[in-house]
């Protein structure tokens, strides 16, 4: 049985393939067309998934789509109706997109893929729920999904047992935590979808002095549900979603690029605090309602690692699982999983241990590239590469690391990473300024050997997909300044020999040289999607000031 899952038209277009009882491949279209958060039909990702499986489109039995577009269209029209006549401009901008392809998903799929297969439409939050629960290690669990908006729902909860998933309650648009976060992100002068992480990082530099103001906008209930006071917003009425009333409360919006001040930082901090409070209330409510010990989370809001960690610490759940591509890319996979398990009744797959579901490249292809480009490189055995890279990292060099299959989801987890010494106090500024070309306040995460977690962090838990933060022991902060955020915490990926292979070996080799069982790990890119092909990796390496590049079985020097 072969099932192709697709998500597209809003952000993070993705294709995922289930074949013979396992997830064979999944990839976001942005990695192919180099357009961040690309919303276009993921034709290149589809081609990749099929070729990875050694199949053609003729072998696909079922196709799933991650939401019900007619329902979404209905909500969009009602939204314009409610704001009539002030929503004309927005109507003229969005309707052509609906008419072009959003209302004709089946026809588009048939046209692009040249096959007639029934398309199964899985509701948006159900796709998220499936991506979380069906890949988790839990036989049964509570499920909570929170994002911007699907068809109508902005959040939903229920439970899963075996292959069955039941969503019992949902919250409807416009009362959306994800939407609120995006609105404030735009208000603070950052781009929506890419800026939310920046706001989360910025929050740690401020104080939640605007919490009361946010409580005027967000009327929270004790069960975690809340009502947005829509009189502060202008939905579908132009470029901005906030209005003058909002500005009276918080001040004028920050133009993009303008210097950040305390007001901005405090607004970010207040938004973050409110988000955490609301999410914890939601989680507590779900715990009470479900009576389950385990919790699965999905939806773009759960890319907020700070909130995730508070949930983990403060909720009553024993175990929490978050699928690494928690946003809409993961929903493509979730829709396919839902059909495969919950509808067709196939037994559960082993839980997701690695999100390396993207393309890999042979040493032969890499060698051809390196030779033809005339770069200085050496072929090395794996243990030599590990030793050489560890030496260079210990010498505070910045190393590009391109090995194995590309990760699925927004995080680089040791296959498409830029690595550096976490103990170098200059490293954070060096990386932000000359490699990543991004704001100085943005922190870097760390890949930590699992068995050494407790030596450096107060929490001793697994975080294989870098979706949690942990507080650094006060005595250790000076040892790893490059990966410690201003609040004394670090976003961490725990690494094991079993799951991470040579990446584990590298960190272990680094530990032997420096005593630090971790590396600074940031994604291999510079203001673009994470690199996908060896050509892109080589170009990024050449265009930035990385000291060396480990690509496949080769070491490349500048």
């Amino acid at each position: 049985m072969t099932i192709l899952g697709i998500s597209c038209y809003y952000h993070d277009s993705c294709a995922a393939l289930i074949h013979d009882g396992r997830v064979v491949a999944a990839a976001q279209e942005e990695r192919f067309n180099r357009d961040k958060y690309s919303p276009v039909f993921p034709i290149q990702a589809v081609n990749y998934c099929l070729q990875e499986a050694g199949l053609t489109i003729y072998d696909v039995d079922e196709i799933t789509f991650y939401e019900k577009m007619y329902l979404k269209f209905e909500r969009t029209v009602l939204s314009h109706l409610a704001g009539y006549p002030f929503t004309l401009r927005n109507f003229l901008d969005t309707m052509p997109l609906w008419l072009k392809d959003r209302l004709t998903v089946s026809a588009t799929i048939e046209d692009e893929l040249s096959i007639k297969r029934p398309v199964r439409y899985v509701k948006h939050h159900l796709s998220h729920a499936a991506s979380g629960f069906l890949l988790s290690p839990f036989e049964r669990a509570a499920i909570l999904t929170v994002d911007g908006v699907g068809e109508y729902a902005c959040a939903a909860y229920g439970s899963g047992s075996g292959t069955a998933i039941e969503l019992r309650k949902e919250m409807h648009y416009p009362h959306s935590l994800g939407l609120l976060y995006s609105i404030v992100t735009a208000y603070l002068g950052f781009r929506v979808f890419s800026g939310e992480g920046k706001v989360m990082a910025l929050a740690e530099y401020g104080e939640p002095s605007f919490l009361d103001e946010f409580r005027k906008i967000v009327h929270a209930r004790s069960d975690g549900s809340f009502e947005l006071d829509t009189s502060y917003f202008s939905f579908n009425r132009g470029d901005r979603m906030h209005n003058r009333r909002f500005e009276k409360l918080f001040g004028s919006p920050r133009p993009p690029g303008e210097e950040l001040n305390d007001r901005h930082r405090n607004i970010a901090a207040s938004l973050q605090r409110l988000t955490e409070i609301v999410l914890i209330d939601m989680v507590r409510h779900v715990a009470r309602e479900s009576g389950e010990k385990n919790l699965c989370l999905a939806g773009g809001v759960f890319l907020n690692v700070t909130a995730n960690s508070r949930i983990r610490e403060e909720s009553d759940f024993q175990e929490i699982f978050i699928q690494p591509a928690a946003g809409d890319a993961g929903a493509a996979l979730g829709a396919a999983l839902y059909l495969y398990h919950s509808v067709l009744g196939n037994p559960r797959m082993p839980s997701l241990k690695s999100c390396a579901l993207g393309a890999s490249f042979s040493d032969r292809a890499i060698q051809v590239l390196l030779r033809n480009r005339g770069v200085r490189f050496r072929a090395m055995e794996s243990d030599e590469l590990v030793a050489e890279a560890a030496d260079r990292l210990a010498a505070k060099q910045i190393v590009g690391w391109f090995r194995g299959r590309m990760e699925f989801g927004p995080r680089a987890l040791g296959n498409r990473s830029i690595l550096a010494h976490p103990g170098d106090p200059e490293m954070k500024d060096r990386l932000n300024l000359i490699i990543k070309h991004r704001e100085a306040f943005r922190p870097f995460g760390a890949s930590v050997l699992r068995e050494h977690m407790a030596e450096f962090f107060e929490q001793d838990w697994s975080s294989p997909f870098m979706l949690f933060i942990a507080r650094v022991h006060a005595a250790k902060i000076d040892a790893i300044p490059a990966v410690v955020h201003v609040n004394g915490s670090s976003r961490i990926q725990t690494v094991t020999s079993e799951e991470n292979g040579i990446y584990y070996d590298l960190i272990e080799a680094f530990r032997e040289r420096t005593g630090l069982p971790m590396l600074l790990n940031t994604s291999f890119n510079d203001s673009e999607p994470i690199v996908h092909t060896p050509e892109e990796a080589l170009r990024c390496f050449e265009d930035t000031d990385m000291d060396c590049l480990v690509i496949g079985g080769y070491l490349v020097e500048q």
Binding site: L78, S79, Y84, Y121, E166, R168, F226, E227
Partner: protein, 79 residues
């Protein structure tokens, strides 16, 4: 010759797309002003239920509502 033909085709495609965009915009504007206008009027007069998307109700105890439309036998539908 081929180059001129290619240029000609490029410009006519552009022109065609521009005309198409203008026509679609005008039609959509008419749909909005007249269609949505009449619908709005009808909703105001007969059923304000369709206009409550952004209205607030502070008295509501919880904003959680029963989840609907998640049945497995509805997967072939987009609603």
């Amino acid at each position: 010759m081929r180059r001129y033909w290619d240029r000609f085709k490029w410009w006519s495609r552009r022109l065609g797309r521009s005309i198409q965009a203008v026509v679609i915009t005008v039609l959509l504007a008419l749909v909005y002003v007249i269609g949505l206008g009449l619908t709005r009027l009808g909703a105001e007069l007969f059923s304000r239920r369709y206009l409550k998307l952004y209205s607030m109700d502070r008295s509501k105890g919880s904003l959680w509502v029963d989840a609907e439309g998640y049945e497995a036998n509805r997967l072939d539908r987009q609603f």
